[in-house]
């Protein structure tokens, strides 16, 4: 679903677990945690706080 990124919780180079929150999106008057689909290292952050995003849009790259 579409929404606005209100904060990015991870940084490039950070190791994350699966299910770990990597960004918070606001949509429908709710803050929603965007969680890592798999464990790995964040190699790239593709959005900035305040960006409007749509469904299936890549937000960060985890390798």
């Amino acid at each position: 679903m579409a929404g606005t990124i209100i904060s990015i919780e991870g940084q490039v180079g950070e190791v994350v677990d699966a299910e770990e929150t990597i960004a918070i999106m606001e949509s429908m008057k709710m803050e929603m945690s965007i969680v890592a689909p798999a464990a790995g290292t964040i190699s790239e952050i593709l959005v900035a706080e305040g960006d409007a995003v749509v469904e299936n849009q890549p937000l960060v790259r985890i390798i």
Binding site: S27, M28, K29, M30, M32, V35
Partner: protein, 519 residues
Amino acid sequence: MTGNDSFGEKWSEVEVAKAALLDAARSAAITRQHKRGKKTARERLALLFDEGRFDEQGGLVSPPNGDRADAPADGVITGIGRIDGRFVAVAAQDFSVYGGSVGAYGGAKIQRLMDQCLAQGIPLVLLLDGGGHRIQGMQDSWHFARTGTFFADMARLTGWVPIVAAVMGDGFAAPTNFAAFADLVIMVRGIATMGLTGPALVKAATGETIGKEELGGADVQVDQNGLAHLGAANEEEALAAIRRYLSYLPSNARAAPTEGTRDDPRDRSCDMLVDVVPADTRKPYDVRKVIREIADRDSVFEIQPSWGASAVTAFARMDGRAVGFIANQPMRLGGMLTAPACEKIARFIAICDAFGLPLLYLIDIPGFAIGPSAEKAMLGRRSGKMIAELAHATVPRLSLVLRKGYGGGYVAMCGGRGFMPDAALAWPTAEICPMSIEGSVDVAYRKDYEAAPEPATRRQEIIDGMRAMISSLRAAGGLGVDNIIHPADTRRVFNDVLSRAVGRRQLPMPPKFRAIAPI
């Protein structure tokens, strides 16, 4: 003495025939199975049953010429053992025999087992690893045209006895058709596949090249499609999940419920629940913490955690009694009811209702999902299914509004009186209304505030006025909820409601023959 000798010879002949079925006698085939990263069917059964023991049946089937070596047990091991002391029937495909395909005797053995489950009310476990109808020697209308009654029998078994399917290898085609009738389907990650046709047939039929993991692995079928309900890291975990699932359910729909240990105080105060819900209605929290705190210690078993994750469906125990929790999960998509979440809840209700488990609804819902993706996923149909299942349920149910009880989703989550809950409760943090406040102000009062000298101020004014009208106290004022309870008191109140509730209710149905599933 002669008689004894004769008996001894006969028995040793039987022992030799039985020993030939065991892994120890089939080392080459067994080594191949291990090299595939899989346990053998018999190793799996040893892990599944109490003390590793079960009574095999049909193990000695053979063609008329008596040669059992070609297809030991005809590729499927069937029998009855005990799990937690209770009888459970199992059919385990043996991949080392014709790739686990079902031959004439294998099919008859599965049929025999299903007949016993139907007649005796024994749960059925399917350990799937292999093909469907055996092609070798059986690509023949003499065998196939008549077919068996197995699918009709599987359909009759559903809701009568618990059925679990664990896919522990190739599960394309017939294994998937059988798993379709299981209450719970478990896939072993990295090994199991499901789907109606595997990559080879897809390639032959359409020319499309696709890997089996990509087509039907657990990452796809459990996490993305929701076809199967649990992904297990390995076979041990899958077998443990079968045992755990069965522990919550009676052996059949008419059997007494199982009793858990009652070592968690029945009226324990749930102090951590007091500040679990953030005051800011935009903030998420993990509703699984709430369930874990209310339920008996370590009793929560979540089903389909990775799919439809904006809702949580979990078996648990309350003062030893098995129950089903259904909760919105604010941590995922704000707790909206998406099509997968609705589908997951609908099926969970059916299982709980079939086997007499009360439904405990924890409501914090901003609404049903919106937008093109929700429509494409047929949310209109899926939400109807969830509602229809609740409407047909006969087990006790209660609802507790933790925070948001917005819109039709509130009704679908058993909020209010619609589905006659044994208790309709709210925490003081509840706010209950037909539509999210900001949304309803923009829809119904746009002209009003746009005409005002300071539209933003006027809009906020209307919002504040509305917010004052949706409190838990007003909900109780209209008898929409029976009571507003202190969060710390939740476990005690739930246990009291469950103790009082009648086991099954009679639904006021007209004299029809059956219901029809929503659009």
